[in-house]
Chain length 225, copies 2
Amino acid sequence: MKIAVLGTGMTGIAIASKLLEKGHEVRMGSRSATNDAAVKWAAAAGAKAGHGTFADAAAFGEMVFNCTSGGASLEALRAAGAQHLSNKVLVDVANPLDFSKGMPPSLSVSNTDSLGEQIQRNFPEAKVVKTLNTLNCYLMVDPASLPGEHSIFISGNDAAAKAAVLEVLTRDFGWKPGSVIDLGDISTARGTESLLPVWVRLWGALGHPNFNFHVVVGSPPSPKA
Amino acid sequence: MKIAVLGTGMTGIAIASKLLEKGHEVRMGSRSATNDAAVKWAAAAGAKAGHGTFADAAAFGEMVFNCTSGGASLEALRAAGAQHLSNKVLVDVANPLDFSKGMPPSLSVSNTDSLGEQIQRNFPEAKVVKTLNTLNCYLMVDPASLPGEHSIFISGNDAAAKAAVLEVLTRDFGWKPGSVIDLGDISTARGTESLLPVWVRLWGALGHPNFNFHVVVGSPPSPKA
């Protein structure tokens, strides 16, 4: 598949590299067509790798990953162009982290709204699927590197789009289908983005980001007498 | 130990009953000295159980559990009286759930503040320890009923207070010491209270509340070449 990866930070590079390794054609997009990280990545990555502006990449991709920083995502997607996102699966991996109030970061949108919903509202023709925003980027594309069962979440309004993303997550990234929890429509991104405030504090307490949440599910409780 | 449990909902009853079962003297506190649930509980629970107003219970307890609903916690603690909370460990189990904006609930305080911090600020002489607010009340006091490893968190400014709470959690409630993650000071309650937005959506997706988060921790990542 032709896939666009918007954003050239660690998350974008990790996702683009894994997709390429799995045989996809990948174009990385950034604000400038000559972004150093994207140029370097594409030069090293071979014939199926390319780079360009956000609009170049989005026009190329049949599926688009938003790996830009959350505070810049709406602007990046506007630069990508609504016409290049229309009717496409837009996988939103970003978190609306706000570093302006000190460390650890807070969220610039939370509680009664989410970045995932903002993106869906601003790009109503795109099929936004929020996922992978709750763990370190190396674990996103290599879940088996963390021993034991652990979970990711998926949120979105379009069932077919979620199924397409689930296929990438399982076939390409190595997630077991049972580890991917479908929380419901895109408003459930409020839930997964709200994991960030505890995630950043766990990073602080543990001293490193090599961890993930596992949702341990028991049997439904029997009615109390 | 003499323990006060403020709040006579499901969480208060679950915690008070478990503490009693483990040999503590427990007084439940509520707005009125004749609260039906507290009267009924104390009558059935035997000689070591009592009930009264928030102030009666707080005056009695050497340790105080706040199991009131989050939106009413500050008022309940004011009714309990700062003088009855001073120098005591105040275990805050509440979540600031806001049901006024529809279901699932949002939070009335979040992101850059938390109920745990509000309580600590309003009762500076109390030693506030936030814990157990991230799972169903039956699991709080019976973690082994959910098979497998799973986690709870602890937040507070006073190390001795956290140690005292850890002892109750492990000795009385059955938590393994390794399952209790100390996130740091009371500001880290922002993290655990932020688990509620995903918790309520997991309840929706799974259809029942018999689940918990396990923080799966790997080795610190080796530096990248």
